[in-house]
């Protein structure tokens, strides 16, 4: 539809703004709005699965990770302003302008090459997938059919990469060995109204996450999006509750065992006599549930790693100011 031009223009404006603004917090807010526009654009381009994933990731989780990581580190505004007036900074601004012109030129050359040589090669894969995905896999959503049946190894490596990313994050943030982290995370509860109403909302959000996971092969959504919704319950809990009864080590073990389950279950695709038409749909639902739980554990671990790091930084700051 022609409305998408408006969204594209807003996206370009927000990208420029988030690069050029000085304060990092504000750049992150711009990035959140950018990803909202991005997701609505995907929806208009007939990709509701992608739209769900981008909305879940971009506007809430990535924004939260950025904000927790830069909290307490942002420079004071006055300091930056006085830095901008010095002649050294003027030279730096001139350098920025120069590199901007260079990159505009390179981009223009690449675009002219692209639009000069693009050719239509047809869509044989599209024809095959769209014709036969219902009879081959039993799914009603072609995207789920592809990432859980035709190209399941992609999904396996994606899950592995998420696991490795989470392990690397926990490693870099120096998770304390042997201590019980649930004692360390002390939350500062939000206002009473938010706490009460989000307490009312938990069961519905959980129910909705399970609905998205289990219906992943029929409607847009699936394991990843539903798992992110379940992880958002943890995030809301952090803001609402006084005490978090969460043990991160148990979550990590659960994530690894869910990953093993995904590998074992996807190996069943190698046994064709086992996969009759009833079992295919059951297999899809089971895979979606496992992926959902794995992603839920993983994203919750990511969020709490950063939260733990931030509380540690605030503790050391307070100690150095006091002492």
């Amino acid at each position: 539809m022609p409305v998408t031009i408006v969204f594209l223009l807003a996206m370009v404006v927000l990208a420029v703004a988030s690069i050029q603004v000085r304060k990092a917090e504000i750049a992150v807010i711009y990035l959140g709005i950018f990803s909202l526009f991005n997701a609505i654009f995907y929806l208009f381009y007939s990709a509701p699965d992608l739209s769900l994933a981008e909305a879940v990731i971009g506007s809430a989780l990535a924004t939260a990770l950025f904000l927790v990581a830069i909290k307490g580190y942002t420079l004071r505004r006055t300091q930056i302003k006085s830095e901008y007036r010095s002649p050294k900074m003027r030279l730096a601004l001139f350098g920025e302008l120069f590199w901007g012109v260079v990159f505009l030129t390179i981009g223009f050359i690449v675009i002219s090459f692209y639009f000069g040589t693009v050719q239509d090669v047809g869509k044989p894969a599209w024809y095959h997938y769209v014709r036969s995905f219902i009879s081959d896999t039993g799914a009603r959503n072609a995207v789920t059919a592809i990432y859980l049946n035709y190209r399941v190894f992609d999904t396996l490596f994606e899950a592995l990469l998420l696991l490795v990313g989470i392990l690397a994050t926990a490693y870099f943030l120096e998770w304390p060995e042997g201590k019980e982290p649930e004692e360390e995370i002390a939350t500062k509860p939000d206002s009473e109204i938010v706490a009460r109403i989000s307490g009312l909302l938990y069961p519905f959000i959980l129910l909705y996450g399970f609905y998205i996971i289990v219906n992943g092969h029929l409607t847009p959504g699936g394991g990843f999006q539903g798992g992110a919704i379940l992880a958002s319950v943890f995030i809301i809990r952090y803001f609402a509750q006084r005490r978090l009864g969460i043990n991160i080590f148990i979550l990590q073990r659960l994530e690894k065992s869910f990953f093993l389950g995904i590998i074992a279950l996807s190996m069943l695709l190698l046994l064709p006599e086992f996969m009759n038409s009833d079992f295919k749909v059951f297999h899809l639902v089971l895979m979606n549930i496992l992926i959902g739980f794995k992603v839920c554990c993983g994203l919750a671990i990511l969020f709490f790693c950063f939260i733990f790091q931030q509380t540690k930084v605030e503790d050391t700051k307070g100690r150095s100011e006091r002492g």
Partner: protein, 113 residues
């Protein structure tokens, strides 16, 4: 139109990656570039008037589901790589107390010498 915009956003990200001296701006630039690539793939699989690939549409009316399935993978990998980058940034800032690539390089060189 969408392809053009994805090129523009990609080169904006590349520009910020090269020019900007703040570490957090570099991570934001990485996110922008990744978004631009996803945008390009999605707009490449779409034609005007096509419907989402869900079975209540006719097969001839559906868009190409393959780029979408691949790009969901890309979004998941994007969030994990962003998280790793942010964790590294956090430790870097805690250790050296600055947000500037040039100052960081200077401090590291003095440490080595």
């Amino acid at each position: 139109m969408a392809e053009l915009v994805s090129f523009i956003i990609f080169f904006l990200g590349l520009y910020a990656l090269v020019v900007k001296r703040s570490v957090i701006k570099s991570i934001i630039a990485l996110v922008l570039m990744e978004t631009a690539v996803i945008l390009y793939f999605v707009s490449g699989g779409f034609e005007e008037g096509k419907l989402p690939p869900i079975s209540d549409a006719l097969p001839e009316q559906m868009v190409d589901p393959l780029p979408q399935a691949l790009m969901i993978t890309a979004i998941v990998i994007g969030i994990s790589s962003t998280a790793v980058a942010l964790a590294m940034y956090s430790q870097l800032h805690r250790k050296y107390g600055t947000d500037d690539w040039k100052k960081l390089m200077k401090i590291r060189l003095e440490e080595d010498a």
